[in-house]
């Protein structure tokens, strides 16, 4: 390599590095700019309509120390988690069962697709009427909202499995259960993770909305209670905490996706 080529290579490496720094700097800069805009906007709108970010931060610290914030977070996460587990179990199991009975599938498919269109939040009053005012109506809401994206993705994923792989597995002696577990499940994992990216934040939103309407604990209750007491800082605190929770869940999901789908050749670097 000549001196000139070496110099060019070093220049290229520096340029690549500089571009990476530029992205990081841009991200941080944008975050700071948004915080400043929030602060200026809050000052202009007044404390009744928008909370000061500094006060929100102080509230998060004081409520964390008193323990009340952690309790609300725990209640909401538990509700979202249990509801998610129920919705996810049915969303995965039902397409696998329907795979065994193709004629029944064709008969019920239009009804399932029609039920996607029912606005789930509008069912909450019915759920309260039917299931009381404990956790049950909220679990129904979370479960249903999680069920649909997962059911649709897994259903589509099963149809998308390469027939050649299934034939190969049959010829070498795999049972139907093994084919479901090894071939179909692995082939639809990318679909499943895409659905999780929709379903997990949805579970949290649904839990919070459920808590607006029923109950006396949780982040949703905290936001609604603050609004009733004209405590705008409390409302903003709840929103900020919920957003942070969604971001944490998404980050965990991205890591899990990378782990399970490491084999994928193309979209290894693609994420939402």
């Amino acid at each position: 390599m000549t001196n000139h080529e070496t110099a060019l290579a070093i220049q290229e490496a520096l340029w690549v590095k500089w571009r990476q720094y530029a992205v990081t700097a841009g991200r941080v800069g944008l975050g700071v700019a948004l915080l400043i805009a929030w602060k200026l906007g809050a000052d202009a709108a007044g404390p009744l309509y928008a909370a000061d970010p500094i006060k929100v931060f102080q509230r998060i610290v004081s409520d964390t120390i008193s323990g009340s914030l952690l309790r609300h977070i725990y209640v909401t996460l538990r509700l979202a988690g249990v509801g998610f587990a129920i919705g996810c179990t049915f969303g995965v199991a039902l397409p696998f069962l329907l795979r065994r009975v193709p004629r029944l599938t064709r008969a019920v498919e239009p009804y399932i697709m029609a039920s996607v269109g029912v606005p789930k939040y509008a069912l909450v009053p019915l759920f309260i009427l039917w299931f009381g005012i404990d956790d049950a109506p909220k679990l129904w809401l979370v479960g249903l909202l999680v069920f649909y994206p997962i059911f649709i993705a897994v259903f589509a994923g099963i149809r998308n499995v390469d027939r050649g792989l299934i034939s190969m597995a049959r010829v070498v002696g795999a049972s139907e259960a093994m084919i479901s577990r090894e071939v179909i499940w692995n082939a639809l994992l990318p679909f499943f993770f895409t659905a999780l990216k929709i379903a997990l934040p949805r579970a949290l939103s649904a839990a919070i909305i459920g808590e607006f309407l029923v109950g006396n604990e949780g982040l949703g209750y905290m936001i609604e209670y603050s609004r009733q007491n004209v405590d705008t800082t409390g409302v903003f605190t709840g929103i900020v905490v919920a957003t942070v929770l969604v971001l944490v869940i998404n980050a965990a999901l991205v890591r899990l996706d990378r782990h399970f789908n490491a084999w994928r050749p193309i979209d290894r670097d693609m994420e939402l």
């Binding site: 050649g164 049959r170 010829v171 070498v172 002696g173 090894e182 994928r264």
Partner: protein
């Protein structure tokens, strides 16, 4: 050579299911009969679209027949009803398909071991056999690679030894080397003959390449254009072991090639 019929095809016919609003679908295969003997390397040659893959799918018991019967070890195979099909007939019929059909989320080694895993036959002995095959086809060092990290030729080798590893008495091969460059193909043909010489399996090898059919087979069947039936049968006088790279200059090659060429339309 022992001439015991291992696989018998009698009057086999196939047409695909009719659909509403279409003319009845034509026969893909009609009245096809032949016999495969124990330990024989049979090559079947036919033009593209002559129903070669359909024939192998029926032999492998993953597709139904519309008429006729298939006997394996003198037993009639249930091939008329999709529900009674027994794919691979209890692991006795191996099938190397045109596509490699490797599981993309499994490594080379896991793919090769896959039949043993599902048959619950994974032990030190079978693992050692898998390692031997991996070395024999030059995949050593690529055990932990995923299929998409392998070249086309390497994927073919992996798919080939995935069938050899569980040692089925009959192996069906559907143009396994069709999509490869000439060099890689010759290399794989040599690998295949070498492996075949180790333990003489019964092989039914389908191809559209006349030279390949002659180079590999003990006997070559020619399929007619659709509907497919047997247009000719040629015993191959070229002795083994054969030199694949020099097969074209063997004195018997030219005449045999010409006889087959006339029948392949």
């Amino acid at each position: 050579m022992a001439t015991e019929a291992l696989l018998e095809v009698r009057g086999l016919s196939k047409r695909f299911g009719d659909r509403v609003g279409r003319d009845p679908s034509p026969w893909v295969i009609q009245d096809l009969s032949f016999v495969v003997n124990e330990g024989e390397f049979l090559t079947i040659i036919g033009p593209s679209g002559s129903g070669k893959t359909t024939l192998l799918n029926m032999l492998a018991q993953i597709d139904t027949a519309s008429g006729g019967e298939i006997r394996f070890q003198s037993q009639v195979a249930p091939i008329r009803d999709p529900k009674s099909l027994k794919p691979g007939l209890a692991c006795k019929i191996g099938y190397v398909t045109q596509e490699d059909n490797l599981l993309p989320w499994r490594t080379t080694l896991q793919n090769v071991l896959f039949p043993l895993t599902v048959q619950r036959r994974l032990n030190d002995e079978t693992r050692a056999r898998a390692q031997m095959l991996i070395h024999a086809v030059g995949l050593a060092g690529f055990e932990q690679h995923y299929p998409h990290e392998l070249s086309g030729g390497m994927r073919k080798r992996a798919s080939l030894i995935r069938t050899l590893v569980y040692d089925p008495p009959v192996i069906l091969m559907d143009e396994p080397f069709g999509a490869l460059d000439a060099q890689t193909r010759t290399q794989l043909q040599e690998d295949l003959l070498r492996l075949w010489n180790l333990g003489r399996k019964t092989i039914v090898f389908v191809t559209h390449d006349i030279a390949e059919a002659i180079a590999l087979g003990d006997r070559t069947l020619v399929l007619s254009r659709s509907p497919a039936s047997i247009a000719g049968e040629h015993c191959n006088p070229i002795p083994r072991p054969r030199d694949i790279r020099g097969i074209m200059i063997h004195p018997e090659f030219g005449a045999l090639y010409h006889r087959i060429r006339v029948q392949v339309q």
